[in-house]
Amino acid sequence: MTTQKYPVGQHPNLPPPNNTVGVLFWLKENMFNGVLNSILTLFSFYVIITLLPPLLKWAIIYADWTGDSKDACTKDGACWVFIRVWFDQLLYGRYPSDSIWRINLSYVIAIVAAIPLFFSAVPKKIKLVLAAFLLVVYPIICFYLYYGGGFGLEVVETPRWGGLFLTLVIAVSGIVLSLPLGILLALGRRSNMPVIKSFCVVFIEFWRGIPLITVLFMASVMFPLFVPESLSPDKLLRVLVGVILFSSAYMAEVVRGGLQAIPKGQYEAAAALGLNYPKSMILIILPQALKMVIPGIVNTFIGLFKDTTLVLIIGLFDLLGMAQLAATNPNWLGFTVEGYVFAAVGFFVFCFSMSSYSQHLERVLNTGHRN
């Protein structure tokens, strides 16, 4: 130990002693401090070693990558040829292949319009315009692009929509349309008018209490029983309505959380300035509440995104449905696992990036209170 004396107050910053830094120290501190921890570490190693190599062998080392028929699958591992051949169907369902550009075009528009929203340097005005475009004009464009009819675009019936495309259509329109409904329900639930309040409570609790597949079943085959015969919208549309009502109940609870977090003073200040209820809601309360619950909204979206797989039970072919369909094609039997893995990776990529984004937002919103 150094016993060197420095003048009072002149002690320099010294590097920490050797036995407290470095890789070995880190390993000891983080993985082998104590018997229990060492056992846990060894156990974890064991888990990794038993799982990882076989997985890698199957998925990469002994996998088939090239070819265009089942005969190309000769090795022991996965046959990714299957995915290659069915790639378009997995992504777009049975959408006519010469019209797939329409879907891609809509993706491009969405990405181009959405990117500026994520940069804080872009002025608020432009962001508002873009958001309005995405929420109002874009859905109309999309509907026209997807469904076609008029102006030279061939009609593509909704039963031909499928794959990841259908997943996105259901999840995105579900979330976008359930937001306004959810906001109304949340406001209603906080209203002091007993009739409105109890209606909203019953509505929300009802939809939150029942499983989505029963909703889908009713929307897909029972709906015409409840309405006059003249009303018979498209099946996909009915499913969408079911999904929207279902997720609006969840959305309402998310928004309610945001509304509750707004201090009473904000309402009072708005009232004192002479703003009436609708104005103070639209100008003061909702902008704050919604911003606060963006992570919650994203999480609801992720939930909905995953739940779209249930539509395969009622005969719509989303990404998972398409994977299953492909795997039961007589020419391609035996590739169920590849199909599931592809679908799983697809869902994982989407959901994981969204949830990372929402966690990032949560951190930003938590710490960023001072600006």
């Binding site: 974890s44 939150r208 029963t214 739940d307």
Partner: protein
Amino acid sequence: MTDQTKSSTPAKPPFWRDPDKRALVFQGVFLLLVVVVLFTLIRNTMLNLEARGISSGFGFLETSTGFKIAETLIPYDESSSFFTAFLVGLLNTIKVSVIGVFLATILGFIMGVARLSKNWLVARLSAVYVDTLRNIPLLLQLFFWYFAVLRPLKNPKQADNFFDIIFLSNRGLYGPKPIFEDGSGLILFALIAAIVGIIVLRIWAKKRMENTGERFPVFYTSLGLIIGLPLLALIGTGFPVSWDIPELKGFNFRGGMVMTPEFSALVFALSIYTSSFIAEIVRAGIMSVDKGQTEAAYSLGLKPSWTTRLVIIPQAMRVIIPPLTSQYLNLTKNSSLAAAIAYPDLVSIFAGTALNQTGQAVEIMGMTLAVYLFLSLTISSLMNWYNASKALVER
């Protein structure tokens, strides 16, 4: 001053400018609208049903079903009524939900705590577990567990045999089933006695600790009691229990207890999927407890294990319970995916087979929804009650 006052109550404005009256009118109109819509829906349904000559009413519940169900908790055969089938489905739903909730909670807590572990590797692994499982749809996981795990299992003739009493094959996991004979009442009695004993012991140990400060190993003693007493009774009465051991007869094992692949896959998928959410909830709950609490407890001389038990967990639970409730609700509702892999739950049996045999969609869906609503409300009110009883008292 008094003569200036016209009246002591404020003057009344016209109703459209009076917020109270406006609210009344608005609510009246809204209520009317809701009633009209509901009424139209119901009327339409009735008209449509009648126009198509579809039979309605709940008479079908008493007729016999004519189909068989693989797993039942109550006696059921082809001649049982549709109502019995309904109960069978309901009980099966409750069965998977309860077991699923139990396993998901345990697994979730382990994973949540592991993610906060100081052990870097353990924390990473549990993060991978959580992030992977919660981002893949449940239905996909269900198919995966069912088909991917079913395939490698052997057929009953080549079943994996454990000591000739437990057999694993693609028909499920067969094990011995205890059959209680005369005199086994004593074992039940011993079990009850053990439970009573444990309760008494706990009270006594608490009292003793309060009086003398001495602690008593309640947990291990309880464990000993609950195993030992029935065991003693068993020995004392000369083993009046015989075991029904599964035996391979023809195609399959007969006798014994079985855990079918459908049930296992469903429970597996449900509890693993839900546990990934619970892990996050637990982690957030523990992290919500201020570091100062641990420090205060340490500086009072409390050991880490006591600190966790007396200070951290009670506070974390308040944060954990509400989202945990919604996970329980989700799990219960998600058990309806059973239909996809042939587990006979309520949706599969009643809103599936029974609906198809009778064609009475409205009644059957109505009953099914009512059951799920009832289950949801029960779980959430139980949890709300628990939560209210534990709420922090603030100024």
